[in-house]
Subunit: 235 residues, 2 copies
């Protein structure tokens, strides 16, 4: 038998998937939800506790519980773990290198769990800090979920892709898995990042997931780690 609070959690998640409550907005109060779902406030609380621990919801005492977003000032670039050696929170600029539609490779269609050879949007961009290139991103997303996306939109919104996904396509990325390696810059990445060939780069391969663990973005980031590092916390 499934615990009651798990059921409540699923119902709340379902409402979030439906878009019943939008990112940044407050969801109904614990007591209201308790009435709707016909359980006690504490049971709703336990469900929200978990969603909050997963950063899907955000609690604010005395105010309410809010739908997490990639839009807020303080949690912008939520998935970016790169930090400057000097500990600064710095602003990055965005430079689109290429943008195209293509057929998914076999591997990619498996990763994104889409039909083989269905259309995907593929783009490259360079993130710069202080005019200097820092990250080369290759991003691949299923065209079906991002109809109407143009190169102009990416250039225009200088912020994170995730912010755009959310605002313009109703796609909320909740979590991501990354595989990190050290590689040498090849000709292309070296020229785009303005470093010598064979410079060591941090290769960060990321798959991002929306609700119900549905993968919706594959991304490869190549980072120069001379003045920056990727931070990781273990426990």
């Amino acid at each position: 038998m499934q615990p009651l609070y798990e059921k409540v959690k699923k119902k709340i998640t379902a409402s979030l998937v439906q878009g019943e409550w939008s990112p940044g907005e407050a969801i109904p109060s614990e007591t209201e939800l308790a009435n709707v779902y016909e359980v006690s406030q504490g049971t709703v609380r336990k469900a929200i506790d978990e969603l909050s621990a997963e950063s899907i919801l955000i609690r604010r005492q005395g105010k309410g519980t809010y739908v997490a977003t990639h839009n807020e000032e303080n949690i912008q670039l939520r998935f970016l773990r790169l930090t400057s050696n000097f500990g600064l929170k710095e602003k990055l600029d965005n430079q689109l290198v290429s943008f195209s539609k293509e057929k998914a490779t076999n591997k990619l269609s498996k990763v994104l769990n889409i039909n083989p050879a269905s259309t995907i949007i593929s783009l490259k961009r360079v993130l710069t800090f202080n005019e200097k290139p820092l990250i080369l991103d290759v991003i691949k997303i299923p065209a079906q979920s991002f109809r109407g996306l143009t190169a102009e939109m990416i250039v225009e919104k200088k912020g994170s892709m995730y912010r755009m996904y959310e605002t313009d396509f109703g796609v909320r990325m909740l979590r991501a898995d990354e595989k990190i390696r050290a590689i040498n810059a090849n000709f292309e990445s070296a020229s785009l990042l303005n470093v010598k060939e064979n410079t060591p780069l941090l290769s960060v391969e990321r798959i991002s997931y929306t609700y119900e663990n549905k993968p919706l973005e594959w991304r490869l980031g190549l980072c120069i780690t001379d003045n920056h590092y990727y931070r990781s916390e273990l426990d």
Copy 2:
């Protein structure tokens, strides 16, 4: 005013620091602790909830709550995030390269929060997988906290250092911070890892903490990421 469950949490932590309950052992039941601390079982529960979320305690329904350890089969190499490309959980071998006592540098004494120029133990080792070198570790720990540690002990215990810290010195590492970069192998690391000079390596600089966020180990790991990757989960 501090919440009651926070006080309880601190009392439990204090008992753990004192070594009242050893790693792997069960702590008293929630009801027992509730009696001792003169609070309700639910309050103890909330305290344990948090300690359990921090991987300091481990719950087992119907059995009890246990002190987390680096000793158990399944959570061995708890802090090792390196995975083979083929997803195998593999066994690593351990090869000591050097072992010495030296004076702490200024930087290191700050990192470990010890008196400048106090004695530290410094060691290098190579972790191999399938006879092939995979990681070169440089480890520095304050001698004071690890009196009696010899090279032989490290060679003998083939397992993780953390296991030895725990068993032989009563030092339990709870969490760690890592800074990850891509570098090129220099002469020394290249020869120890049996790769060409300038091979790209993943540089993982780690500081490990015991109770109350006390740093007790600095470590630099250089990893070959041809057939392995460092995994990271974001949310």
